[in-house]
Subunit: 392 residues, 2 copies
């Protein structure tokens, strides 16, 4: 593989939360404005040549089937191409990859990637579960996200002695990080007891083991690596990415202690970046449930298989630990507005690599940050992007 | 713009129609198999490194929100990246562009683009109109596709003297072409009187001025231009593409006799290909309604503004005319399975440029074919791809 490297020269998000007062288009415009504000110098919005918009559940806001069609007008750029990217929970991560390839192809000099999702406006009657019930003849009967992930927790506990306290320690850490993140949906500290005593959702996952439903948007601006220095003295580059799918049906899984799609995507991403996992300084990973973060840090090669629970409980993944994970608060505290999530993770990595993460700032001696999402029924897809501040 | 050219080395579709007996995944697999069969030599399915799947209304078949996640397993390629592209009616055309950029970027050597759409399985209660009613707070109230396009017809009639007979001549031509296309949904000839006497839908558009709802799938295989000769002696290259958006709200339109998004997309596509419209030998354009084809051939520069109706009636766009349009039968006769439509148009252009279009074959002295879709509420987006058999 030989490709022209791409740089992120602007990145921004809006405060995540229950944003009933903002339309889908307003949220996207807010994220675009934040990304524009973050560019150090010499950038005009009209330089954007093409946009990729990640939205997973367009139906919830009437965007299903009309792509990103309302976005260009809303951000003052009517006329530009605007393509909707949808790839389950990693929609935002995948839009970033597609945007990077559009720049690397030489076709577009400046590309905008926006992730945006409305999760809270619709009632249950019109919401996620109602859509699921009208959905796929096999996948969407009786399955909810906790039901899909709980078996991974029980099996991990059975094989490796992982405990509910270890799971809970992930939520405690991420809520602590979220308390330092002005953009997080939830900014309150919680304790292990809070998690253990929260209502059961699907054993062994309790309420505080689960991410909330959140509205939000995030945006990044991509240019070629050569052009980056025009806009910033602190460029961040796309080192590599990897995407993989797995059989979507649960009965076809070969393991319930790891996500095969993540393992394969990681192989591809590290190969493209030309690095090993030990060079990653910090990572934003998909903690839709506490068990998911434990699977992720194992599958991404940060800790040995089976050791994710212990590593979390012992603080290895905290802000001052060996490999800080979800410094933004993660999905558990910052929230999970699906299409926005991956792009928001990129924003956090960008801040960390530029030294702009304020109270959440971690050390980045190697100059690499990793961003990761899983999604699809039965975790059938995983997307990873690796960023770096190393110029070559 | 400097980009590495891309070639189409395989292309295929399944018979369009009411495909109740096939699942979404089966339709996609059928199209992939047809594309594989079409490669002249030396190609293994496992060479596919990444897929892009166009589906517009995933909700109709439960695919909304799980991307292309069920496709890799269905086509025997579990593990490969599979990204859903959605951009209203041009979803398939845009997936082709994104796939081409993925190859041009140097990241992926072989890319598969599949367009697939289930339109017929759901009842009205669960179908398109029901989704629309639950949809966008502004766009989806009381608007149907005929309602959006009829004002363009009345205004075109008013300004240019276009008649219902001229509109009807588009449907007659496309049904004739469809009668020669073994993959078309409708393969029957019709007359101008048939169109005029068909039931009114939204004046001046009658039933046979409107495309049907159709299930279908199509697929193409993309490689770099340099690699193309490994697989075929008749390579077809991507000469250029152009995408543009317009204000989506009808009250913001500056004209009802043309589609601004198409005009702008055409400018971009011709500039990228380095050609003028007079070099196009044949084109597949978006004839969701008869009036749309008339607008298209004007906006694409094949005939002067206002002359599209006369040109159609006089046979300029027939198989033996000056600029054959919709040789496949178009949306009006072949059908419009939304996500599949653009990809199927590419397949027809590929056949024409290779001399493989059998009874529908037209002359291609210049070696250029154009493919085009419009979509979105109020025709807010237009996507154009230009193919060529010229090696440079």
């Amino acid at each position: 593989m030989s490709w022209n490297r791409v740089a992120v020269v602007g990145a921004g998000i809006i405060k995540f939360g229950e944003l009933f007062e903002q339309s889908y288009e307003q949220m996207a415009a807010g994220a675009f404005a934040a990304a524009l504000d973050s560019v150090d110098e010499g950038f005009e919005p009209t330089q954007v040549e093409a946009a990729f918009v990640a939205t997973q559940r367009g139906t919830l806001w009437g965007q299903e089937g009309i792509g990103g069609n309302t976005i260009p007008t809303a951000i003052g750029l009517a006329g530009i191409p605007c393509t909707r990217i949808e790839n389950a929970c990693p929609s935002g991560s995948d839009a970033f990859r597609v945007g990077a390839m559009a720049v690397a192809s030489g076709v577009h000099d400046v590309v905008l990637v926006i992730g945006v999702e409305k999760m809270r406006d619709k009632s249950a009657d019109e919401g996620l579960l109602a859509r699921a019930a009208a959905g796929h003849p096999i996948f969407t009967r009786g399955e909810t996200a906790p039901v899909l992930f709980a078996p991974f927790a029980t099996r991990h506990m059975h094989e490796f002695g992982t405990t509910r306290e270890m799971l809970a320690s992930v939520a405690v850490k991420n809520h602590h990080n979220g308390s330092l993140d002005p953009y997080a949906h939830f900014q309150n500290e919680i304790t292990i007891d809070d998690v253990l005593n929260s209502p059961a959702v699907c054993a062994p996952l309790h309420l505080l083991d689960c991410c909330p439903q959140t509205d939000g948007a995030a945006a990044v601006l991509l240019v070629s690596a050569e052009a980056a220095e025009r806009y910033t003295k602190k460029p961040v580059y796309v080192a590599g990415f990897g995407v993989a799918t797995d059989h979507p049906y649960l009965h076809e899984k070969t393991s319930f202690t790891g996500l095969k799609a993540t393992q394969l995507a990681a192989e591809r991403a590290y190969a493209m970046a030309g690095i090993e996992p030990d060079l990653i300084d910090c990572a934003e990973v998909h903690d839709c449930f506490t068990i998911t973060e434990i699977l992720d840090i194992e599958d991404l090669g940060f800790v040995d298989k089976g050791k994710g629970g212990v590593a979390s409980l012992e603080g290895d993944t905290s802000l001052t630990g060996r490999i800080p994970i979800n410094t933004s608060g993660g999905l558990l505290a910052k929230g999970h507005p699906i299409g926005a999530t991956g792009v928001a993770q990129i924003v956090e990595c960008w801040w960390q690599l530029r030294g702009d993460a304020d109270e959440r700032q971690v050390e980045t001696p190697n100059g690499y940050a990793l961003q990761h999402n899983v999604g699809g029924r039965g975790s059938g897809v995983s997307v990873i992007n690796i960023l770096t501040n190393n110029a070559s």
